[in-house]
């Protein structure tokens, strides 16, 4: 099977013309490839999958080094149950600590440990190296900026749709 050729799928997406279909297909092939390659490199070199990396990185960057489960779920675009499970695993590995939030019966925070900071500090180098190889070095700055801007428009509308779907979350 051809490894890298982007082909128009034989099954057409109804209502999309050739150009629309091509644009979407290229986006899918590219982003799945980039995400999968990042994931694999982080796993092989640091035993962190992409979501674990993003979680630790988010904590490392936050002012307090910690976040509530709900915040993490939102940031990582994952279900809360998945985040709970991930934080338990990361806690067992000594990379974060989980603690009840005083005065909030069910609230739990995750806080990054010094060990976690060290691990994510190393992983961030692999991440950057791979992002540069797969993505930044492949196009002009102008193209990259245009790509970022288009993706931002897509994000903005999906984010507002998510917010509307969860009007009660504080």
């Amino acid at each position: 099977m051809e490894e890298s050729a982007v082909e128009l799928p034989a099954i057409r997406l109804p209502g999309l013309d050739d150009i629309e279909q091509m644009s979407w297909q290229q986006f899918v092939v590219s982003s799945t490839g980039v995400l999968a390659t990042l994931n694999r490199n982080l796993m092989v070199r640091h035993r962190l999958d992409l979501n674990e990396f993003r979680l630790l990185d988010f904590l490392a960057r936050s002012v307090t080094g910690s976040a509530r489960m709900g915040e993490l779920a939102e940031e990582l675009m994952l279900l809360r149950s998945r985040v709970t499970w991930m934080t338990c695993r990361l806690e067992a590995r000594g990379l974060i600590r989980r603690a009840r939030i005083p005065g909030d019966g069910r609230g739990v925070r995750a806080e990054i440990t010094p060990e976690g900071r060290m691990r994510v500090g190393e992983a961030v180098k692999t991440y950057a190296q791979q992002v540069r190889r797969l993505y930044v070095n492949q196009m002009s700055r102008q193209q990259m900026l245009a790509l970022g801007a288009s993706c931002q428009r897509i994000n903005a509308s999906l984010e507002s749709a998510e917010l509307q779907a969860r009007p009660t979350q504080s």
């Binding site: 099977m1 099954i11 986006f27 799945t32 980039v34 675009m77 930044v136 288009s150 897509i154």
Partner: protein, 162 residues
């Protein structure tokens, strides 16, 4: 290594990337993760098929013989063979895919889409297209859609593990 700080706090920076590069990559990854999550939710609730299942069925349906080697599927999605095996097990249990031996290779297993698999895929594709229209194409001008596809075409595709 360059370090940028803002208001006393380290900005999300990668040792080798500048701020604009970081932001663009972040937007690219986020939009991709969000779109896939939205597609996945829509497909599961309307058709009981995950996005991954639909992508695999589509790949099979697209091939001349309606089939692919399990190994090639794993490689196409840059996934561990066990993930593909699990999915094919589930699709086989639903009658959407069959397993058979490769005519030339004794130990090579092929996954082949069934007639029912094609029918389920067709209806899932309608949902898929609607989500793409609403959340991707409607957000972009025609020029932007072309430019985005072109930039994506340049990104490195998964290479074999180093």
């Amino acid at each position: 290594m360059e370090r940028r700080t803002a208001i006393g706090q380290q900005v999300w920076d990668l040792p080798a990337l500048d701020v604009a590069e970081n932001m663009c990559v972040q937007q690219f990854m986020d939009s991709s993760l969000r779109l896939f999550a939205t597609l996945n939710d829509g497909l599961i609730s309307a058709h009981g098929l995950s996005l991954f299942a639909v992508l695999v069925l589509e790949l099979l349906a697209r091939s001349a013989s309606g089939s692919a080697r399990m190994r090639d599927l794993a490689e196409a999605f840059a996934l561990a063979p066990s993930r593909v095996t699990q999915l094919i097990d589930r699709l086989e249990a639903q009658g959407l895919v069959g397993r058979n031996q490769h005519p030339q290779g004794r130990r090579v297993v092929l996954a082949t889409i069934t007639g029912e698999g094609r029918a389920r895929l067709q209806s899932a594709i309608v949902t898929y297209a609607r989500v793409v229209r609403l959340n991707y194409l409607d957000r972009l001008s025609r020029q932007q859609a072309i430019a985005l596809g072109d930039a994506c075409r340049r990104t490195g595709l998964p290479t074999r593990p180093a």
